[in-house]
Amino acid sequence: MSKMRIEVIDRRTFMVGAGAAAAALAGLGLPTLANATPEQAMDFIEKLTGGAKPAEGKVKIEMPEIAENGATVPTKVSADSPMTDQDYCKSISIISTKNPYPHICTFHFTPRSGKAWASIRVRMATTQDVYAVAQMSDGKWYITKTTVKVTIGGCGG
């Protein structure tokens, strides 16, 4: 296990290969773009919920604690809901706090979905908190978060 862990480098930089990553490490400055801030993520959530404050609970997000490859991080979201016509989870959104853009994806469910559950693979620019925000059919919003450590450049975890 290596102790080398770079957390500030842009994912794009490591995508272009180990040599380029080494160049970036040496401070040669490959082009990287500014990432979103946690404040922008919160703004996005506020826009999504129309100003409603989401409560904690009911929604879950599962991501690996350490993601060696930020280009494809397995992510599962779910919500605690009976999924009946009267009471179901309408949507779950995944929001990044340090990617170039906060919104990653939104899943829309129906009672026919049977479960409010989805699995996807996402890009993580760097180590960060990731939020899942769910809307229930009664209009209530729920939120949760997880932290993903992104290791780069084949240094292992």
Partner: protein, 107 residues
């Protein structure tokens, strides 16, 4: 041409909640990447919408941004009560659509 693969169970019992796995070949170019040689931004080109139908009814859909990985994988569930068809549509923001279908026998 994007290549799609879907995994739907061939059979199920009425009332079962089945898991469906989908995968499509697409680079999901986020628009944030720069060409190493020219320094120019590579234009954004992503699939922005995925829709799943069971016997004509949309039961699951998803909006995607550049934060979804290349060759997007997406798994989800469906509560089945009769035999029928699944249709999956990936909508590319350039207007192209990719489709896949599957059949299920519900006993």
């Amino acid at each position: 041409m994007a290549k799609a693969r879907v995994k739907v169970p061939k059979t199920a019992k009425a009332g079962d909640v089945i898991t469906i796995k989908t995968l499509i070949k697409h680079k999901m170019e986020s628009g944030n990447r720069k060409d190493k040689k020219t320094g120019k931004k590579i234009p954004r080109h992503i699939i922005d919408k995925f829709t799943a139908k069971y016997n004509g009814e949309v039961f699951f859909s998803s909006d995607w941004e550049g934060g979804v990985s290349a060759n997007p994988y997406c798994a989800f569930t469906c509560k089945v009560d009769k035999s029928g068809d699944f249709e999956f549509v990936w909508h590319d923001e350039k207007g192209e659509e990719y489709k896949a279908t599957a059949k299920i026998t519900v006993g």
